[in-house]
């Protein structure tokens, strides 16, 4: 049950996209996110959809798997859609009491909703096709220029690595404790909100104790191996950019050019 969460999960594979340098993928994702905010009309989504479709196709991650990741944020999407629908002023379409749905509102709602969905799919794709360890290595490398200004890049990356590393461990721990308490007759599923919150105590207390124990053990193990963060640490597998990374950068620039020129209305005369 609890193991089925897909957001932020890695989908094992060996596609062209999986093998790209993590740094390139992170930059790509940033460019993608920014590009979504440059788009002004529905036409602008066409290059985005085509690109996203291509990436998903090449990566070999099943679409069903990606859409599953949307489930937890479904409420946010619905909320955005509703607020936009009712709160935009313009030509009234339907009036229900004091609420008015305007033509502009409907358009805005659909537009924002699409943006949100694309935003989430795009960014979840990054973690789906990049091993967590490569991801944090990439972040560290990308942040390292700022190290001279006092930014603790290595420590930040290490913290992220550890946090990511312990997501499955803590999920497993939760699953185990939940089952143990269910075997003692605990009920996590029925009752009103207050009762349900109360029923979480037998789960949360042991979980916190476990988390602290795990953290302490890890700290001790790192200490025992003389871990000192930051300077003078080298890597066994250094990150080297390859030809395909260059190709990915060129594709990224092409994509950006298409989106910007569309936003500037340069294609206006063709459509």
């Amino acid at each position: 049950m609890i193991r089925d969460i897909t957001l932020g999960q890695f989908y094992p594979g060996n596609s062209w996209i999986h093998r790209l340098d993590a740094r390139i993928k992170i930059i790509w994702t940033f460019v993608y996110i920014i590009s979504l905010f440059l788009i002004q009309s529905f036409w602008g989504y066409i290059p985005v959809l085509v690109t996203l479709g291509l990436i998903i196709g090449v990566s070999g991650v099943p679409l069903k798997f990606i859409l599953k990741g949307l489930k937890p944020i479904f409420l946010i999407i619905v909320f955005t859609f509703t607020v936009n629908m009712f709160m935009t002023k313009g030509t009234p379409l339907i009036e229900i009491g004091f609420l008015t749905i305007t033509e502009e509102g409907l358009y805005n709602a659909a537009f924002m909703g699409t943006r949100l969905v694309l935003l989430i799919i795009g960014s979840s794709l990054l973690t789906l096709v990049t091993k967590p360890i490569n991801l944090t290595d990439g972040i560290e490398k990308l942040l390292s220029p700022w190290q001279k200004l006092g930014l603790p890049a290595h420590e930040l990356a290490m913290m992220m690595t550890i946090a990511l590393r312990f997501i499955p461990t803590l999920l497993e721990e939760t699953d185990k404790i939940m089952k143990a308490q269910m075997a003692r007759g605990a009920d996590f599923e029925s009752g009103n909100i207050l009762n349900r919150a109360k029923s979480l105590i037998p789960l949360l207390v042991p979980l916190f104790i476990s988390a602290f124990r795990i953290a302490q053990d890890l700290a001790m193990a790192m200490e025992a191996r003389c871990y000192r963060g930051g300077s003078h640490r080298t890597r066994m597998n250094g990150m080297k950019l390859k030809k395909k990374d260059g190709a990915a950068v060129i594709l990224m620039l092409l994509y950006l050019a298409v989106v910007i020129s569309q936003a500037q209305g340069l294609f206006g005369r063709f459509i």
Partner: protein, 286 residues
């Protein structure tokens, strides 16, 4: 019979890239009051199997009948299953959460819908049964107890529910030899007092040989072998190929036999070995 498992199959994360078949076509029966041992290599599906027995995991296919009622059915109340079948997980001390030992042990009975008074009585009984002093321990926080004591309190939390079938998943893992012996004695005592069926999952062949009436051997999600301890431990080659060993006493007898000494190799316990050796050593003298 009390438990009847028929053609049980389970697959983890079906349809996902991590899909693994955990159990394939498992069938066995357990009679009322029987003491059953389950052995198998790490990852052979023992834990998955026992979680099926009290409805924590639903099987992909197959059925589990408890006193003739199929617990995989939709209209079965989970509370009724949990009343009948108690499950003690590995390292059960990690499930303790209450402020006092008394409250923690009372958690299960109260969840079954017993009154506070009934629950209190059961707590006193259960704590005594696991070999702890109720007066000394009841009002202390479970977190300030020693490892062995914590585990007893956690087990008391399950036996206070008075299950007719008690399942224990490696109850002695990570304990020192003395605590190990104490826990085993405690299990025997619970079996005697509550007259329940016990299913014990263990890596310790000696314990299984000593306690069990029947042994289930698991291998890669399949039931490799079933029988009495004597029948199972006779198959030493098969057990070895599954990464399992023999009880120490049986192993010693086999070594003696291979050295040309004529001993019975059906010995399972230290006491049995002692008798057999005494017989061999005094044979010539009488």
């Amino acid at each position: 019979m009390q438990i009847e498992v028929k053609n049980l199959t389970h697959i983890y994360s079906e349809g996902m890239p991590y899909e693994t078949v955990a159990l394939t076509d498992i069938s066995f029966e357990i009679d009322k009051g029987e003491f059953v041992g389950i052995i198998g290599h790490t990852g052979s599906g023992k834990s998955t199997l026992i979680q099926h027995l009290n409805g924590l995991i639903k099987p992909k296919s197959g059925s589990i009948l408890i006193d003739g009622v199929d617990i995989t059915g939709k209209d079965v109340k989970m509370r009724d299953i949990r009343r009948q079948i108690g499950l003690v997980f590995q390292y059960p001390e990690y499930q303790l959460f209450e402020e006092t030992v008394h409250k923690d042990v009372a958690f299960g009975p109260l969840n079954l819908g017993l009154t506070q008074e009934e629950a209190d009585n059961r707590v006193v009984e259960a704590i005594r049964l696991v070999g702890l002093s109720y007066d000394e321990i009841a009002d202390r926080s479970p977190f300030e107890l020693s490892g062995g004591q914590k585990r007893r309190v956690a087990i008391a939390g399950v036996i206070a529910m008075k299950p007719q079938i008690l399942i224990l998943d490696e109850p002695t893992a990570g304990l020192d030899p003395k605590a190990h012996g104490d826990i085993l004695q405690m299990i025997e005592r619970i079996h005697e007092v509550q007259q329940n069926s016990i299913i014990l999952v263990s890596h310790n062949m000696g314990d299984i040989a000593k306690l069990a009436d029947k042994v289930l051997v698991m291998d890669r999600g399949k039931l490799a072998l079933t029988g009495t301890p004597a029948e199972v431990f006779r198959q030493s080659d098969l057990l070895e190929s599954l990464g399992l060993g023999l009880p120490p006493a049986t192993f010693m007898m086999r070594v003696l036999e291979s050295k040309g000494i004529q001993v019975s190799t059906d010995i399972l316990t230290i006491e049995g070995a002692e008798e057999e050796l005494y017989r061999i050593l005094t044979r010539g003298k009488n």
